[in-house]
Symmetry: none
Subunit: 253 residues, 2 copies
């Protein structure tokens, strides 16, 4: 038995337990997905094709150390022996004797438990059959991915991907919308006024506001249009530049 190092009291991350996985490819893909979302503690119970698994290593490319440090166990019981809270991933409505969490709720819960020193495990069943009732009996709660009831099946690697995604996503909560635009230099009101005035003046000269009876309404329309646009200071300069160039072009005759 190798060690997944997840015993560390200072590491709040859950262990992902692959229960009796069949295809090495899926074990490798699971390792990649875990590392994509900063999870590193894999445990594997009774892998069908033994251990180490060449196909798993090939597929894990770049995430091989997850496999190197994976804890290999004979039984699910052994794999979760040191854990204080165990989630079992299953299709919906499989077992109503335990609380059922969404992936999001499960990972928020895992994060809280991890932060308070608890050790959390998430069980993933074998490809074809999913977890057996004996595995689920070891769990404190169920996690179920909300899928199309008419087309529900997710494979092992997909299920690991989604749980990993939720682990990473819930780390950032609350997620401010459009973070990356946060330090954008938006145009000030005064800059917008100057742009509106520039266009109005030049379009007036070009007799855009015509017939005269409609001129006032057209100006209001234009002002409303400009003020709905989310313009940066740079955008405003581009619009000024376009208009100046059209005027130069006219003046060159």
């Amino acid at each position: 038995m190798t060690d997944d190092t997840s015993n560390s009291a200072t590491d709040p991350r859950p262990a992902f337990v692959l229960v009796r996985p069949q295809m090495g490819e899926n074990i490798g893909a699971a390792a990649r997905s875990m590392l994509n979302f900063e999870l590193e503690h894999m445990r594997v119970t009774a892998p069908r094709d033994g251990w180490p698994n060449e196909r798993a290593v090939a597929l894990a490319s770049g995430a091989g150390r997850i496999l190197d440090h994976a804890r290999i166990c004979d039984t699910t019981q052994e794999a979760v022996a040191d854990c204080t809270f165990v989630f079992a991933t299953t299709a919906r409505d499989r077992d109503l004797t335990k609380p059922v969490y969404t992936p999001e709720a499960a990972m928020i819960d895992a994060r809280k438990r991890g932060a308070s020193g608890q050790k959390v495990a998430v069980l993933f069943g074998p490809e074809r059959t999913g977890l057996e009732n004996d595995d689920i009996a070891l769990a404190n709660a169920i996690v179920s991915v909300p899928t199309n009831p008419a087309f529900a099946s997710l494979n092992l690697a997909q299920c690991v991907l989604l749980m990993g995604y939720e682990w990473r996503r819930t780390a950032a909560m609350p997620v401010p919308m459009e973070m990356e635009m946060a330090d954008t230099q938006w145009a000030s009101h005064a800059e917008m006024e100057a742009l509106i005035a520039h266009y109005e003046e030049r379009l007036e000269e070009a007799r855009f506001f015509w017939p005269e009876g409609k001129a006032a309404a057209m100006k209001v329309t234009l002002r409303n249009l400009w003020s709905r646009m989310p313009l940066t200071r740079a955008d405003v300069q581009v619009f000024h530049g376009m208009m100046r160039q059209m005027v130069r072009w006219k003046e060159r005759g």
Copy 2:
């Protein structure tokens, strides 16, 4: 060109556009993931191995009708011509000229737009290289999955899975109604293209794109600016009108 039936004004679901996908297996897996989360409108531009694709069909098992109804296009431009809002999925920090959304924020936004009659597309790049800058230039916004910066890469099928998951997950969230804009006639992608082309042509004549060495970059800047603007069909006509009037003014001398 077959039809993905997503023109239906009553279907608020986004189209997922696979741009130049390479492996049939990934196209099939994408179809399954879409159906898992109740999405059915697939478009495919220039699939490397032609169409129909046997390996895609084999992998899609159970979700074959997504492929049967997929719209096959030669170019990304053609694939999004009828769309009013386009998201491009890319790795982080690729392009800072457009707003960057999390998958969650993007699918909440797509849901709102869909509910108000807009047609939304989500672009997914080819396996090895991801979307090219020309594809991204067609988009109104970027979607980026928050991953481990040291191990960020997700493959095509994984990316489709996560976006589909967020589409389904956000269905359960209350959608704030934006009544005022609810029946707005947003400009289609094709109408925006026509506007961009009109301005580019006239500004070219007016020698706006100068010095010549910077012309290409200036055109990209301008395209990015226009695609960030939330323009209605009426707004587009106003912008056309302004430019036409400036040209008339010049021609009167």
